[in-house]
C-alpha cells in the first residue's frame, strides 16, 4: 500500500503524463509521442468490443513497438494523405483512476476516459473512448508499456481514424 502522500504524488505524475501525451497527439508531435513508449510497448485499439483476442480477431490497431515506429514514420512522410492536411484535434482526458488490479511486474495500471474532437476535410467528428494504460518508470520517467483504446462505437462502421488516438 502506498502512503497517502506518495499516492498523491504518483497520481499527479500520472495525470501530468496523460495530459502531456494528449497534447503531443493533438499537435501531431509524432516523434515526441513515440518517445513515450517503452521498448516493448503495445498499442491496441480493439474492434467489436473490449475483450476480443487480438491474436485471433481483427483489431483496428494492434501495433508492437516496431509497428508503432512504422506508423510514426508513415505520418512523418507528409504523404499520408488522410493526414495531409492534418486533422485539427483537441481531446479531453478525464476520470483518471489508478486501477485496483496492479500488474505484478511493477507496472502501474491506469485508466481514463477521452473525448476527441476531430476536424478534417471530411467533416467534424466526435470520438469517445475508454483508455487503459500500463505505465512504467524508466530512468526516472513514466513511459507507456501498453495503451488500449476502447472506442465507444468500435462495433459499428467508423470513419477513417488516422491520427494518434
Amino acid at each position: 500500500m502506498l502512503s497517502r502522500e506518495s499516492s498523491a504524488t504518483l497520481m499527479s505524475a500520472i495525470t501530468a503524463f496523460l495530459y502531456r501525451e494528449a497534447r503531443l497527439q493533438d499537435e501531431h508531435r509524432y516523434e515526441a509521442w513515440e518517445k513515450l513508449w517503452t521498448d516493448d510497448g503495445v498499442y491496441w485499439v480493439p474492434a467489436n468490443g473490449a475483450d476480443i483476442d487480438p491474436e485471433r480477431q481483427m483489431s483496428i490497431i494492434y501495433d508492437n513497438r516496431s509497428r508503432i515506429a512504422l506508423r510514426v514514420r508513415q505520418l512523418m512522410t507528409g504523404k499520408h494523405f488522410t493526414q495531409t492536411p492534418q486533422s485539427n484535434l483537441r481531446r479531453l482526458i478525464s476520470n483518471i483512476e489508478l486501477m485496483d488490479q496492479q500488474p505484478e511486474d511493477g507496472d502501474i495500471a491506469v485508466a481514463s476516459n477521452s473525448l476527441i474532437f476531430e476536424s478534417s476535410l471530411r467533416d467534424d467528428t466526435l470520438w469517445a473512448a475508454r483508455n487503459e494504460y500500463r505505465l512504467r518508470h524508466v530512468d526516472g520517467e513514466l513511459r507507456m508499456a501498453a495503451k488500449k483504446v476502447i472506442l465507444v462505437n468500435n462495433d459499428k462502421a467508423i470513419y477513417t481514424l488516422s491520427f494518434l488516438v
Partner: protein, 419 residues
C-alpha cells in the same frame, strides 16, 4: 428510353471511354441501382464458415437491408430478411449467435431459423390464419461457390456459376492456397465507413494506376515489394472477365521472381509447417507453382473483393455513404500462415490501416470533387488503344490501364438499361 432521340438515359451517361459524374452523386440513380443491381443480381452475403454449426447465425446485409444468414438444424444455409412479418420490427438484434428461433421483441411472434412462423402470442384472434403465409422474408435465390454464399432477389436469371463466369477460376485459385482447399472467415470484420459512392470503391479495387502515388507514404518507409508490381515497367495485367468482374493479375511478376511465398513478402523457410503441408497435399511441383503464383486480386461484381490476403465486402448505404467490411483471409490447415495474414491485414486495412486509410481518403475526395459541375465527365480511356484479348478471350491491359473500369461500366449499363 427517350422517344425523341431513341437514346436511353444510360447511353447518354456511359460512353466507352468516359462516364458522367452524376452517376456517382444523383440520389435517383442510387435508388435505381438498388432495384436493378443490389436487389436483382447475385450479391455476396457471407461465408459458410461464419456459421459452422447447426443453428449458428450471423447478421449480414444486401445494400442497406439487414439479412440474417442462418444454418438451420438440417445444415442448410438460409438468407432471411431481418423484418418481422407482423409489423416490421427487426427480429434479430445481435450480430451473431446460435439460436433455433428468433422471437420478435414487439409482440413475441416466433420464427424458426429457416424463416417459418412457428407461433404468435395470444393465438386466439388468429383463427383460420395460415401461418405459412406469414414467414420471414427471404432472399429468393441462395447459392454458394466454394463456401462463398451469394444471394439474389430475382426469381430467375443466370445461375451463380453463370454470373461468376471466368472469375470463378480466381476463387478456385484462392482456395488452393489452403492445404485443405478451403478458405475460412473467422477473424471478425473491421467496418470502415466512407462518405463516398460505392462505385468509387468498386473501381478502385482493380485500379493499378494509383498505388504508386496514393501509397507512396507506406511504400517509402516499409520495405515492401508491392510498389514495383504497379510501376510502369511491371508485367502485371489488368483483366476484364465480363459481368463486371475485374482482376489485377500479378502472376507474371511473381513468376519472374520464381520464389515461393514471395507474393506474401515471405519465404518457404519462414513457413516450414505450411510448406510441408502444401507439398503433402498437392505434390512438390504443384505446391511450388501455387506458392509462387499466390492468391488473386479480384473484384467480383458488385461487392466481393479478394485482395491477396484479405477480403472486403462493399456495402452501399446511400448515394454518398458506404461501408467497407474487411477481414483477413484464413486458410484451413495453415495456422502459421494465418497468423501472419491476420497481422498484415490489421496493419494495412480498416479505419487506421496503412493502405486503406489513404484509399478511403481518395474516395471521399473524389466524391466531393465530382459534385463540381465542370468538366462533367470522368475520363477512363487509359490503355484503350493497347488493350487486347488474352487466350481465353478476356480483355487484358497493362496493370496501370483502366481496363477494369471500362469493364465495370459496360456491365453496369447492361443491368441498368431495361431490356
Amino acid at each position: 428510353m427517350n422517344m425523341m432521340t431513341g437514346v436511353s438515359p444510360w447511353e447518354r451517361l456511359i460512353r466507352p471511354d468516359r462516364v458522367h459524374g452524376s452517376l456517382y452523386t444523383d440520389p435517383e440513380i442510387f435508388e435505381a441501382e438498388l432495384k436493378s443491381i443490389w436487389y436483382r443480381t447475385w450479391v455476396y452475403v457471407g461465408h459458410e464458415s461464419e456459421v459452422p454449426n447447426a443453428n449458428d447465425y450471423v447478421v449480414k446485409s444486401i445494400g442497406p437491408q439487414s439479412v440474417i444468414m442462418t444454418r438451420d438444424e438440417r445444415g442448410k444455409v438460409n438468407l432471411l430478411l431481418n423484418r418481422c412479418s407482423h409489423r416490421g420490427n427487426q427480429v434479430c438484434s445481435f450480430e451473431r449467435g446460435n439460436a433455433r428461433s428468433f422471437t420478435c421483441p414487439f409482440h413475441s411472434w416466433t420464427f424458426a431459423n429457416d424463416g417459418r412462423l412457428v407461433g404468435y402470442a395470444f393465438p386466439d384472434g388468429y383463427e383460420g390464419q395460415d401461418k405459412s403465409q406469414l414467414a420471414l422474408g427471404r432472399v429468393t435465390r441462395v447459392e454458394s461457390y466454394r463456401g462463398f454464399v451469394f444471394g439474389s432477389f430475382a426469381t430467375d436469371g443466370p445461375t451463380l456459376k453463370e454470373h461468376l463466369g471466368g472469375a470463378a477460376e480466381t476463387i478456385d485459385r484462392l482456395v488452393r492456397t489452403s492445404p485443405e482447399g478451403e478458405v475460412e472467415i473467422t477473424a471478425g470484420f473491421l467496418k470502415h465507413r466512407v462518405k463516398a459512392n460505392w462505385k468509387f470503391i468498386l473501381e478502385n479495387e482493380c485500379d493499378g494506376y494509383h498505388p504508386a502515388f496514393v501509397h507512396t507514404s507506406i511504400f517509402g518507409v516499409a520495405d515492401s515489394m508491392i510498389g514495383k508490381l504497379y510501376g510502369g515497367a511491371s508485367t502485371a495485367l489488368t483483366r476484364d472477365y465480363g459481368n463486371g468482374h475485374t482482376e489485377i493479375d500479378l502472376r507474371p511478376e511473381f513468376r519472374k521472381r520464381d520464389a515461393p511465398m514471395s507474393w506474401f513478402g515471405t519465404s518457404e523457410e519462414r513457413l516450414p509447417d505450411y510448406t510441408a503441408r502444401m507439398k503433402a497435399a498437392y505434390g512438390d511441383n504443384a505446391a511450388r507453382e501455387i506458392m509462387i503464383d499466390g492468391t488473386p486480386h479480384v473484384m467480383i461484381f458488385p461487392n466481393l473483393f479478394i485482395a491477396e490476403i484479405q477480403m472486403f465486402v462493399i456495402q452501399p448505404l446511400g448515394v454518398d455513404d458506404s461501408v467497407q467490411h474487411v477481414t483477413a483471409l484464413q486458410f484451413k490447415g495453415a495456422p502459421d500462415l494465418n497468423r501472419r495474414l491476420r497481422q498484415q491485414t490489421m496493419g494495412s486495412v480498416g479505419p487506421a490501416g496503412f493502405l486503406l486509410a489513404d484509399d478511403s481518403e481518395m474516395y471521399e475526395r473524389c466524391h466531393r470533387g465530382v459534385l463540381a459541375r465542370n468538366p462533367e465527365w470522368i475520363f477512363l480511356g487509359r490503355g484503350e488503344k493497347r488493350q487486347r484479348q488474352d487466350e481465353h478471350g478476356f480483355t487484358v491491359g497493362h496493370v496501370t490501364d483502366e481496363v477494369p473500369s471500362r469493364g465495370i461500366w459496360t456491365h453496369y449499363r447492361k443491368l441498368m438499361e431495361p431490356a
